[in-house]
Subunit: 233 residues, 2 copies
């Protein structure tokens, strides 16, 4: 269990990490502060200062679409000096970026390199990464586990056919809303339609309306049918 501690205030990140540790989390995940953009030397100092106070190991999280600034590969390279950093989660969608992070793994073979994108899970593994924190895996975990396994085994035909299904999940669940919030709303709404959790969003974001929820529920049913043959035991 990885818990996000990204915040614009250093002390708030520490406080959330302490709570996560008390609750039994395995590690925490940190993206750059996301109002004013720090420089790369500032981000390096920041991560060094925060790991010194964290009660759990840290996964560095690169998601420039939300934070505006990236942890550049040269900065991640320097973070290999921090023992308590144990991996990188990348949601940039950039294969060249991933390749540069893979290059850091020679200095830290203990690191985990995870993608945050459904559509790059297999590519991340094929390039030398380890797995993903994929939104769609909340709804269809077996699809993503099977895909990761196929990528690890080099079964390119199976990877190709499963990636079509992953794209299908995205086309059906992530297109109702807009941008990043729509993607999250789609996943939460799909989980709600399966009775797994409530689809309440943190304010000011609002859950989908009745018509949108109905549409998502229908699409989840369709996807279950689509995936039944592929993922049957």
């Amino acid at each position: 269990v990885l818990v996000g501690i990204t915040d614009t205030v250093f002390e708030e990140s520490i406080a959330v990490a302490r709570y996560a540790a008390e609750q039994g989390a395995d590690a925490v995940v940190l993206a750059p502060p996301y109002y004013l953009s720090a420089s790369q030397p500032e981000l390096l100092d920041y991560v060094g200062a925060i790991v010194a106070q964290l009660p759990l190991p840290l996964v560095v999280y690169n998601i420039p679409v939300l934070t505006k600034v990236a942890f550049e590969p040269e900065t991640v390279q320097k973070m290999t000096q921090f023992e308590r950093v144990v991996g990188v989660k990348d949601s940039s969608g950039s294969i060249p970026y991933l390749r540069k992070i893979v290059a850091c793994l020679s200095q830290r073979p203990d690191w985990s390199l995870l993608t945050g994108r459904d559509d790059l899970l297999a590519e991340t593994i094929c390039l030398g990464g380890h797995g993903g924190v994929c939104g769609g895996a909340n709804v269809f975990p077996r699809l993503f586990v099977t895909l990761a396994k196929a990528a690890r085994e080099g079964d390119v035909n199976l990877v190709a056919s499963l990636e079509v299904q992953v794209a299908n999940v995205g086309a059906k669940l992530y297109t109702v809303g807009r941008d990043m919030p729509g993607f999250i709303k789609g996943i939460k709404c799909a989980l709600a339609s399966l009775g797994i959790c409530d689809d309440a969003m943190g304010g000011p974001l609002l859950r989908f309306d009745t018509a949108e929820r109905q549409l998502i529920a229908e699409r989840v049913s369709e996807l279950q049918s689509d995936l039944a043959g592929i993922l049957s035991d």
Copy 2:
């Protein structure tokens, strides 16, 4: 005195506003939550919900370069229904945007329309706005007060010559760092060189180094000479 209460957490904004009210602030200033981007209907609901709980009047703050999402003019138009909203601060740098906000003033002649940009103070006033929250005014208040007065009086020749000086301030103080943090560091460092305040930044941002501070101090002296003739009594 206007106090910023922008936050990704509703309750934190309220808490800062309460503290600001206790300390005697006149109003609070709120930009959109800046991690996940809310839609325009969500932002309208958000502002409506927050003004209902604020102990002070609210200035709506449009700064999409930092928040990714803007308060679109159509949304600001609808905010004229909120009595406790008393104005708009715009740092977008867009004259077409400013024009559309000026159009809202017919429904709310009590509103203040302020620019957040040094280089659009006169234009904002000429278009029907009221003034600015200009970074450079912290260092050279008389320059900006004189410029605002010239704009109000329609003295276009004086406006033109003072705007050259405003551009000169920016060229000298805002070019040492980078992007928005560099602009803020430049202002704080200039104020520190004048003995007005310390130039400490909120982490992870770091103040300018010794060489940069020396450069800013020299440029403040140059600007004081440049402005002496223009702004003498």
